[in-house]
């Protein structure tokens, strides 16, 4: 019965490809033995704990083609290994897609943002502490959930879309990307596919082990933000216990297009309430064509949580989510 306090990195190979083809080939060859390494901020804990034991790491941050922010015909493309700090401070992102700049600036801590990448932030693994402790729960390939039970500690867990596993999407940038209708550029040695941000994330009903639809050998290389949502009216807010490091109890990202005083279109997304960023279609539908106002906010907030199924200790997420929706609509 080995139960040790692991704390140092075990032996693992490291590959540092500098060109795309090499990286994709490594990813394909190594398959599940290869761990894709962005900034590594969600990696080293797993490895030090020996709770994940890949044979090799493939570092993606040496590939210049996957770094940086550039304009493309229909918007902006952000390399997947661009750091969160760079995104938060980038003039183009700040001026056109301030929602993402704000979201990126609220991730974890300055040092983590300095190293952590956009790709890593959206592809990070669940933060359920049972899972992080290395327990063999559903998400780890086991047959039980320790959080979803009458006594389980589930204050931080899902109020929507649970299926055996009740972990939530921990990312702050993911809701912003869904709200901005981003497209995820996914490459593999056999080609490239484009996935709408909303479809990039997967819940436990469909895949209880992974949080994204990335297959083995696939790498998220870039994120494209369409001009369609540039300079919309944005709202981002993250509510967490501590204002540094902590993951959101609930966060919200909203992009609202207003013309002639009325809401023309809106995309509103909440994080940390479901295993994937949760798009609030019903709320969006309810506010389209309406004036942005306190009254409207009050009216539609409760729609946001229709169908919520809180666990024992996370009922607060229901009113909190409603309040954040109010704030997003109120503007």
């Amino acid at each position: 019965m080995p139960a040790t306090s692991h704390d140092v990195m075990p032996d693992i190979e490291l590959y540092q490809p500098t060109d795309e083809a090499n990286a994709l080939e490594l990813a394909s060859t190594l398959g599940s033995d290869g761990w894709l390494l962005g900034g590594g901020q969600d990696t080293y804990g797993w490895l030090k704990d020996r709770n994940k034991t890949p044979a090799a790491m493939i570092e993606l941050t040496q590939i210049d083609a996957w770094k940086g922010v550039k304009e493309i015909p229909d918007g902006v493309e952000i390399g997947a290994v661009t750091t969160l700090s760079e995104i938060a401070k980038h003039p183009l992102i700040q001026s056109k897609f301030g929602l993402l700049a704000t979201a990126a600036s609220r991730v974890a801590s300055p040092q983590i943002r300095n190293v952590g990448t956009l790709g890593g932030n959206v592809a990070q693994d669940a933060r359920c502490w049972y899972y992080r402790r290395g327990l063999d729960c559903y998400r780890a390939g086991g047959n039980i959930c320790y959080a979803d039970s009458p006594e389980g500690l589930n204050r931080e867990h899902a109020i929507f879309g649970a299926s055996r596993c009740v972990a939530v999407s921990p990312s702050d940038t993911a809701p912003a990307l869904v709200a901005l209708d981003a497209t995820m550029v996914v490459a593999s040695s056999s080609g490239q596919r484009l996935i709408p941000a909303q479809d990039f994330f997967v819940g436990p009903a469909r895949d209880i082990v992974n949080m994204t639809v990335l297959n083995e050998g696939e790498i998220l290389t870039a994120v494209r933000l369409p001009n369609a949502w540039a300079n919309a009216e944005f709202y981002f807010e993250k509510v967490a216990d501590r204002n540094v490091w902590d993951f959101a109890l609930v966060n919200i990202a909203a992009a609202i297009k207003v013309s002639g005083g009325a809401i023309e279109d809106a995309r509103i997304v909440c994080g940390a309430v479901e295993c994937t960023p949760r798009r609030l279609d019903a709320v969006e539908n309810a506010i389209r064509g309406q004036q942005r106002s306190e009254q409207l906010a009050e009216q539609v907030a409760s729609i946001a949580t229709d169908g919520a199924r809180p666990l024992n200790y996370n009922q607060f997420k229901v009113p909190l989510m409603q309040n954040l929706v109010k704030r997003a609509i109120r503007g």
């Binding site: 216990d241 204002n243 200790y313 996370n314 009922q315 309040n323």
Partner: protein
């Protein structure tokens, strides 16, 4: 009184080492041939190790040996509470069972996986109330509580008694511990407002920044242990005993300690340091045991959670007439902790209630081991009390500041079980200073004002701790060079009191600080005994010893001067590092000369004769080793009279967002009433640091143990929720009353702990104020609790459960 050093800032000798990274903590040392130890810890909350098969691990290349509880306790583990060095009877997850030494940490960890450990699982419990219930599991083998001199025992209530308490009623079971004064019934009978409630406060880990790593090696029969502590000399003798080496063959090295907060004060709270010592002895190599954050969580101690019932009565004018307090203390996995008693003493001291009854039962749970943590007891109960004071003020129509002044401790007041008088007490002055500095009169009208979803809340908090001891020893030496060496065993953990208390000696001898050396950092520099640097006592206790030793030295200097230059010792005074005749200051000797003369004379002047009686063993050893080396001042401090209190007052203004449950602290001042100020910068640091701790207690920090299996969730910083830069105010105002205490030669009393209680109280009161006077009767009050309250969501969480604190 005009002092040369007291009340002045200075550059403590270690601070440059801290900003340059040159100062060494135990893990920063290395030694030729050093190997690395890792701990195999208990996977279960309660069990018995049946077998350890390490053959395969030991056969690995680069593995040097293991140490088990059988090695440490060949005659069996002592059946007593408290952490063991290693154990075969773990009572919490993560308790060290064995250590393995290898060429590097990675190899040790890999070897660990090859050890086959067979553990018999035993029933476990996480909530004292579950254990009290008939049929509930007991945390320890042999019971759920420990009776002094009798051993482990079982304490059970009836199911109805537990259920009744859980549903909010006064416990009816007989308490293990109780005391009372005054006429409680008459007090309540004369009360115009009575508040009665159950409450709970969470336990949480100390989480010092430096994990309690240790390195040890043996040389010529001596054990050299690089460790961490709050006091080098207070820990040394007991630590030598745990290692199993005579005190004279034990060298404890501890230049700097990365935070203590109560759990590095005594060897018994940090026995893990003996692991590298024992392992090094066994495998004959230096052993470094780096302790991980998770291990620090487990063996680093935790505050006790309190579940309780409180009833307070106030007269129409606002005076507190009666207080009845019943606590169930969570004694955790290893027993220990006296928070409830301190809590009761604290409310008695701060609110001067006319009649009081205190009852408590301490019950074990299979959670982190408990022990003193910064203001144990007082700081939890103040967070519960402050909103109740406000409620009383509101109900009785008394100003919130006035009701506190009305009940405040003053000179001549008494407190606690034995109605012990204070040495001095200036709480009304502290309240007034805080109100003035904060601008209470101008600001208080803003209370409960709203701005959109935000609402203002104000809080006034008071903190208390008994803050001074005596009976320790002092050693100072006047060197032939004329320099003053002040031997000080107080640990260097960030209060700088090892240096600031030393300045009492410099003060007596009017010695420029640059001519003084504080001798500390390792016991073979020959230190006198000090009280453990806990209980906010250092500034009081060790200014007494340093002052006393300096007086002894001064006396000897005068004798020597009189001997050589004529007249009586009383005819001499000192000035400018010279001793001279009062009548003619040209007749005198330099300090260097008097020191040289002292060395020629020897005997009592150099510590070779006429030593004070009652010197502690360690001090005697140190003196014997220093004897003859300089002109020495040696002192044994007699006992002081009465209770030296440390008081603090905090006023704060917050803006709470009713939609997010988050609040921002807009303004905060934290004021000390701790006698004469010895070191302003150090005191300000204590007031600011205490504030951050108070914020943690009131809003963020709590143990999380999974009730299903006893696993800790808060073993890292991720879930321990230490307040960060952005959870604390941009500025914390500080100030002090600065009136001398008669029982201390420089007038000083301690402050470290009260400086936190004032803030935990003020913040909880401010949250309550912002929410229209709602009482949570709990600490911490977390974001989710605020949202649930505002949304009228009743959480299914058991209100009195503190370990699984609201999930």
């Amino acid at each position: 009184m005009a002092y040369m050093h007291i009340g002045k800032d200075f550059v403590p000798p270690d601070v440059v080492g801290k900003v340059t990274g040159r100062i060494k903590y135990s893990e920063d040392y290395s030694r030729e041939g050093m190997v690395y130890a890792r701990l195999l810890t208990s996977p279960v909350p309660h069990g018995r190790v049946v077998n350890i098969d390490a053959a395969e691990a030991l056969a690995m290349d680069g593995v040097f040996g293991i140490l088990t509880a059988d090695d440490v306790y060949p005659d069996g583990e002592p059946q007593s509470p408290g952490l063991k060095v290693l154990t075969n009877e773990p009572t919490l997850v993560g308790e060290p069972i064995l250590a393995i030494a290898a060429i590097d940490e990675k190899t040790a960890e890999t070897a660990m996986a090859k050890i086959s450990l067979t553990i018999e699982r035993l029933p476990f419990v996480l909530d004292p109330l579950d254990s009290l219930e008939a049929g509930g599991a007991d945390a320890y083998t042999g019971g759920n509580t420990f009776v002094f001199r009798e051993g482990f025992a079982q304490e059970k209530w009836t199911t109805d008694q537990v259920a009744s308490f859980r549903s909010g009623n006064e416990p009816t079971a007989e308490a293990q511990q109780s005391w009372a004064y005054g006429d409680l019934e008459a007090g309540f009978a004369s009360s115009d407002f009575i508040h009665e409630t159950v409450f709970s406060t969470a336990g949480y880990p100390h989480m010092s920044m430096e994990p309690r790593s240790a390195m040890a090696y043996w040389e010529n029969g001596k054990c050299y242990l690089h460790g961490t502590s709050q006091s080098l000399s207070a820990i040394a003798e007991e630590m030598a005993g745990i290692v199993g080496v005579p005190l004279e063959d034990f060298v404890f090295i501890n230049e700097a300690t990365g935070g203590g907060f109560g759990q590095r004060a005594r060897a018994g709270s940090i026995p893990s340091m003996a692991i590298p010592a024992k392992l090094s002895q066994k495998i004959n190599r230096p052993v470094m045991m780096r302790v991980t954050r998770e291990e620090e969580f487990t063996i680093g101690g935790a505050r006790q959670g309190l579940q309780g019932w409180i009833k307070v009565g106030f007269r129409a004018n606002g005076t507190m007439a009666a207080m009845d307090l019943y606590c169930i203390s969570d004694n955790g996995g290893k027993g220990g902790g006296g928070d409830a008693n301190s809590a009761a003493a604290g409310v008695s001291a701060l609110y001067q209630t006319e009649a009081m009854r205190f009852r408590n039962s301490s019950i074990g749970t299979n959670t982190g081991h408990r022990g003193a943590q910064r203001g144990p007891g007082e700081n939890q109960i103040m967070a519960i009390m402050a909103p109740i004071m406000d409620k009383a003020a509101e109900q009785l129509g008394v100003d919130r500041l006035e009701i506190r002044k009305l009940n405040a401790a003053q000179n001549g007041d008494v407190s606690g079980q034995r109605s012990e008088p204070f040495t001095s007490a200036y709480m009304p002055e502290a309240l007034e200073l805080a109100a003035k500095q904060f601008g209470w009169e101008e600001k208080k009208g803003r209370a409960r004002q709203t701005n959109g979803s935000k609402v203002r809340g104000f809080g006034i908090g008071q903190g208390y701790h008994n803050a001074g001891r005596s009976g320790m020893d002092g050693i100072i030496r006047l060197m032939p060079s004329g320099r003053l060496q002040i031997h000080n065993g107080v640990g260097n953990l960030g209060t700088y009191s090892y240096a600031s208390t030393s300045r009492a000696a410099a003060e007596v001898l009017k010695m420029p600080w640059e001519n003084c050396d504080v001798i500390t950092g390792r016991t073979d520099r020959h230190l006198p005994i000090t009280s453990p640097q806990d209980g906010s006592n250092s500034i009081f206790t060790n200014t007494r010893t340093c002052y006393g030793a300096a007086q002894d030295l001064l006396g000897k200097m005068k004798e020597i001067a009189a001997m050589d230059l004529g007249g009586n010792p009383a005819d001499y005074d000192i000035d400018g590092a010279r001793i001279h005749q009062i009548a003619d200051n040209t007749v005198g000797m330099s300090y260097a000369e008097v020191a040289q003369r002292g060395m020629e004379l020897g005997g009592k002047y150099t510590g070779e004769a006429e030593l004070p009686e009652e010197l502690n063993t360690l001090t005697q050893l140190s003196v014997s080793r220093l004897a003859g080396s300089a002109l020495m001042g040696i002192y044994h401090d007699p006992r002081h009279n009465n209770n030296p209190p440390g008081f603090a007052v905090c006023l704060t203004e917050i803006e709470l967002d009713k939609e997010t449950g988050k609040f921002q602290i807009l303004d905060m001042v934290n004021i000390a009433e701790c006698g004469t100020v010895v070191h302003p910068q150090g005191l300000a640091n204590q007031l600011r640091g205490g504030a951050v701790w108070g914020i943690g207690l009131s809003a963020l920090e709590r143990h999380l143990y999974d009730p299903q299996n006893g696993l800790p969730a808060s073993s890292g910083f991720w879930q321990s929720k230490i307040p960060t830069y952005l959870d604390t105010p941009l500025n914390i105002g500080t100030g002090w009353v600065d009136l001398p205490d008669p029982e201390n030669p420089v007038g000083a009393r301690g402050i470290g702990e009260p400086s936190m209680g004032s803030v935990s109280a003020a913040l909880n009161a401010a949250i309550s104020d912002a929410l229209g006077g709602h009482l949570f009767d709990a600490a911490p009050v977390t974001t989710d609790m605020i949202i649930n309250h505002l949304a009228d969501v009743s959480s299914k969480a058991v209100p009195l459960a503190q370990n699984n604190f609201r999930g």
